[in-house]
């Protein structure tokens, strides 16, 4: 029961971060600020959702896999953010590709 409550709490927190990421996407003025806010928000959101789910998994193998997905998602998200930032930087230096 306590585990269930805990996982609901974490899931709700995760949802909160996703929604705030959404708001950031909608309201923030500057592109790099948005990139920053969004990366933060969705990493935290995904992390919290996963932690919440960890209390619900049937066995250890699942748990290991969950953690693996999470770690990879962190790496991937960092790489993605880096790629996009470098790309945008190049764009601003050279010609502006935004339409």
């Amino acid at each position: 029961m306590i585990l269930d409550a805990l996982s609901v709490l974490l899931l709700l927190l995760g949802l909160f971060f996703f929604v705030s990421g959404l708001l950031g996407l909608w309201r923030f003025p500057d592109t790099f600020a948005r990139l920053h806010a969004l990366t933060k928000a969705d990493n935290l959101g995904l992390g919290l959702v996963m932690t919440g789910l960890l209390f619900q998994v049937p066995d250890v193998l699942w748990a290991i896999k969950f953690i693996l997905v999470w770690l990879l998602a962190l790496v991937a998200s960092a790489v993605n953010a880096h790629l996009i930032a470098v790309f945008l930087h190049r764009q601003q230096e050279g010609h502006d590709e935004s339409a």
Binding site: D4, F18, L22, T31, V49, A99
Partner: protein
């Protein structure tokens, strides 16, 4: 508990829909790229939730594959240099 989890999935799907609408309403490339990133993370989150709700471990593999190949797609997009000027 499944009902609660499914409710969370529904909310996530709603967030997915709204971020899609935001993406469609934006015209700048960077905004869209960011929206795509948010959509991707939301997709992975929904997939993980579904894995628990439906007791299907293969969805974790799917999530892994999505995460890994998302990097590949972004890399292709940002590294391309085709046509004329470099």
């Amino acid at each position: 508990m499944n009902t609660v989890l499914l409710a969370v999935v529904v909310v996530l799907a709603l967030v997915l829909l709204i971020s899609l609408l935001i993406m469609l309403s934006r015209t700048r490339l960077t905004d869209r790229l960011l929206a795509v990133q948010l959509l991707g993370t939301l997709g992975v989150a929904i997939l993980l939730m579904l894995a628990v709700v439906m007791q299907q471990r293969a969805f974790l593999d799917t999530a892994l594959v999505l995460v890994l190949l998302a990097v590949v797609v972004t890399a292709v997009f940002t590294h391309r240099q085709r046509g004329g000027k470099s």
